[in-house]
């Protein structure tokens, strides 16, 4: 029986509390050598692509720049262009916002990356933005939440028109696009990219986000943690494809996951607990709580009980971070959790906010990953290591060979483009 092989990608552990920056093994978050090490390791592991996130304004909390997590990162397309020089097959994926860019310029930058890398570029189209981020841009913060995906969709359509605009024998053809968000005309400056169109990734969870993914994306970077959640999400997004004349295989669903290995199950659990503790310092625990409660809680003891007051809504308390849902309900849930298990503030934050981890021996983790794919909860995974730059080493050395032995992962790159790794069809020319 031929097995569906999984796809693997890696995330550079950047700005958030995934990275355990206090670990002595943790090196620079900005020097090129860190990016190079992670990318080369991903390529050694025959990964599909290497993924960079984006944030266009430094986060602020209580009116001050957030200082507890990694802060600062390089500009993605520039780093990936340099990584194209030190890798040969690895896909290179940049998260770039569709609200604070213009289609001509961005289509050109991605087409350049695709040419320079011989067909390895990918664009994670994000729409997260608000007036706070807009303060760094000419455009400002004018765009309503509801308009962001319509702009993103038209943005992507326009980019595709630009990528397709040269004739097959390399002659520029005049181009014009007139729509609700863009009215532009001229000539594109590059021949069609080697992949036709760079691979498109989507990472939003709303109904609009899923619809956009189904209509236009090649990969979804999701955040589903359990097998059950994953299956529901997978079924929902795949079901939407038919409406757009697309087959289930045309869109790959890849949740972001953390992996912790150990020689025994107990050792892995112990390491995972320690990592979670490191990711959630006492200060981070209080800050997480303040983001939900909407008030200053600095007088609370992180090792003490949760506040019994109810949250207030203060949108200005935390800026530049995705909003949480119904905070009153979350607070209620957390208090219940804390009561039931007798947890302190910090323990509750760790327990409730714990990132998804595949935890266990390499064999057990390989089996679990396989199951996610077999039971249609994922087509593959985007690994989010907690250390820079060594965070992928162990997975590549210990888990990848097992997956390969079991026929669940490739043993060599067959093609040279990212589309070929992902088994995606060459996009049809407009």
């Amino acid at each position: 029986m031929s097995r569906r092989q999984m796809h693997l990608a890696a995330h550079f552990p950047g700005v958030n509390n995934t990275t355990v920056w206090a670990d002595p093994e943790s090196k620079s978050q900005i020097e090129f050598s860190s990016f190079e090490h992670l990318a080369r390791t991903a390529e050694r592991g025959l990964f599909d692509f290497f993924f960079l996130a984006e944030g266009l304004r430094l986060r602020e909390h209580k009116g001050r720049i957030h200082d507890l997590d990694v802060v600062g990162r390089p500009e993605s397309i520039t780093v990936l262009s340099a990584l194209a020089a030190v890798t040969e097959r690895l896909g290179l994926a940049a998260t770039v916002n569709a609200t604070f860019n213009e289609p001509f310029e961005l289509a050109r930058r991605f087409a350049t990356l695709d040419h320079l890398s011989g067909g390895r570029a990918a664009w994670n189209v994000v729409t997260s933005s608000d007036a706070f981020t807009g303060e760094n841009f000419r455009r400002g913060g004018y765009l309503d939440r509801a308009d962001r995906y319509t702009r993103a969709a038209e943005f992507l359509d326009t980019a595709r028109e630009l990528w397709d605009s040269w004739t097959p024998d390399g002659i520029p053809r005049p181009f014009a696009h007139r729509g609700r968000h863009f009215d532009i005309a001229g000539e594109f400056t590059l021949p069609r990219p080697p992949q036709g169109h760079p691979v498109v990734i989507q990472a939003g969870d709303s109904d609009e986000g899923r619809e956009f993914a189904a209509s236009a994306a090649d990969v979804v970077f999701s955040r589903r943690s359990s097998l059950e959640d994953g299956r529901a999400f997978y079924a929902d997004v795949k079901r939407r494809l038919a409406k757009y004349g697309r087959a289930p295989g045309d869109l790959k669903i890849m949740p972001g996951v953390g992996v912790v290995l150990g020689d025994t199950a107990a050792e892995a659990q112990e390491r995972a607990a320690e990592i979670r503790r490191q990711q959630t310092s006492p200060q981070t625990a209080l800050l997480t709580l303040e983001q939900i409660w909407g008030v200053d809680l600095s007088s609370y003891d992180p090792d003490g009980p949760l506040p019994d007051i109810d949250p207030v809504v203060d949108p200005a308390l935390t800026q530049g971070r995705t909003r949480r849902g119904d905070t009153v309900a979350i607070a209620e849930k957390w208090r219940a959790l804390s009561r039931e298990k007798g947890l302190s503030i910090r323990q509750t934050v760790i327990e409730a906010g714990g990132r998804q981890f595949f935890i266990g021996t390499p064999e057990a983790v390989a089996t679990e990953l396989e199951q996610f794919v077999r039971y249609e909860a994922a087509d593959g995974f985007i690994l989010v290591p907690h250390l820079t730059p060594g965070g992928l080493d162990e997975f590549v050395d210990r888990v990848v060979p097992l997956l390969q032995e079991r026929g669940a992962f490739r043993t060599e790159y067959r093609g040279s483009t990212l589309r070929s790794h992902l088994g995606l069809p060459e996009p049809v020319r407009n």
Partner: protein, 351 residues
């Protein structure tokens, strides 16, 4: 000190290999930097991305892409240039340019074309805000202080709160201060307002001049304008920009041209002759203090760059007029420019 740089522009080259080959050749000649021109209005890849691709394939040479300030976002541009500095470990430059045509404006559909003077004024504001954003992180802002759980000292990060005539930026940058502090800013200072912007903000000014007299006059003007805007004129390098066609063997082959200087051409001042004559011209202009160096654009990229490196540069090295190895590793060091102080850092005595 003589400064030499070359353009690695090539028509219809979209892959990395040919740019890498030219940059490596220039690096073998010990040149200060290579430039790659760019515009949204003619075929060609994004110059900054190309030179970023070149960075890991070279070790010392400076990398100076053109990036327009007209239709781009200042915040994105400064972040990309700072990142080029990070990936090249201190070898980034940025040649500022403006986009004056309605054709370019139509590619964005956001604003109409404007006159060059106004756009160069805006370019000055972009240069200004870029420097502020590069300084918006102090060099030692990252502290990784485990006891207090702080990755950075936020008192060493600064909002720039910039309000220009056509844009504003809050800041700070998302990119920590780059290795050179400020990547090297290059401006073609041949024309009116561009010259004023260069005098105020550029580290390197390029001058398209057909005669020694003309070049010397522009350099003097740049230096005095720099002084007027409160800068040390010695912190500005003025390079003569020439198109060079070295097809003519060892010596000038054109009758009547022998040993002569550049001639006007539709593409700008053109030097046609042999590599030895070119060395003579460079040595003379530099020796007489007319310019600090040259920026040369080979007419036939590979052929002329080979002749330039193996002929002209070798001869200048032989005569002790040009370096035979890079004594430093950053572009600022090649140019003899110091690393700028951070405008937000509070002076803390001598420590």
């Amino acid at each position: 000190m003589l400064h030499l740089s070359v353009a690695v522009d090539q028509p219809s080259a979209y892959d990395a290999a040919s740019y890498v080959a030219l940059a490596r050749l220039a690096e073998r000649g010990g040149l200060d930097f290579v430039t790659l021109d760019d515009s949204f209005a003619r075929p060609g890849p994004d110059a900054l991305a190309v030179l970023s691709r070149v960075a890991p394939a070279t070790t010392r040479i400076g990398l100076v892409p053109t990036v327009t300030t007209t239709h781009t976002e200042p915040f994105h541009v400064q972040a990309a240039v700072a990142t080029l500095d990070w990936v090249s470990r201190g070898r980034a430059g940025w040649r500022l340019d403006v986009s004056t045509t309605e054709g370019e404006a139509r590619l964005f559909g956001r604003r109409h074309a404007a006159v060059a003077d106004a756009l160069w004024q805006e370019a000055g504001e972009v240069a200004d805000v870029a420097a502020k954003l590069w300084d918006s992180w102090e060099d030692d802002a990252e502290i990784r202080d485990v006891p207090t759980g702080r990755f950075i000292d936020r008192d060493k990060l600064h909002h720039v709160d910039f309000r220009g005539t056509s844009f504003s930026v809050k800041g700070p940058s998302i990119v920590p201060r780059p290795p050179q502090g400020h990547p090297v800013r290059v401006v073609d200072a041949t024309d009116g307002q561009a010259r004023r912007t260069a005098a105020r903000y550029a580290d390197v000014a390029l001058v398209r001049a057909v005669s020694a007299g003309q070049a010397a006059a522009v350099r003097e003007e740049l230096r005095s304008q720099a002084a007027e805007s409160g800068r040390d004129p010695d912190a500005l390098r003025v390079l003569a920009s020439l198109l060079v066609d070295l097809c003519a063997g060892e010596h000038a082959a054109e009758p009547g041209h022998g040993g002569g200087g550049p001639r006007p051409s539709p593409q700008g001042p053109l030097y046609r002759g042999g590599p030895v004559d070119l060395a003579e011209l460079i040595a003379t202009w530099h020796g007489q203090g007319i310019v600090d160096g040259f920026h040369l654009t080979p007419a036939e990229p590979l052929r002329d760059l080979e002749r330039l490196v193996n002929g002209t540069v070798a001869l200048l090295q032989h005569r002790g007029l040009f370096r035979t190895f890079y004594p430093g590793s950053t572009l600022r060091e090649h140019l003899g420019l110091s690393r700028p102080a951070n405008q937000y850092a509070v002076t803390k005595g001598t420590s």
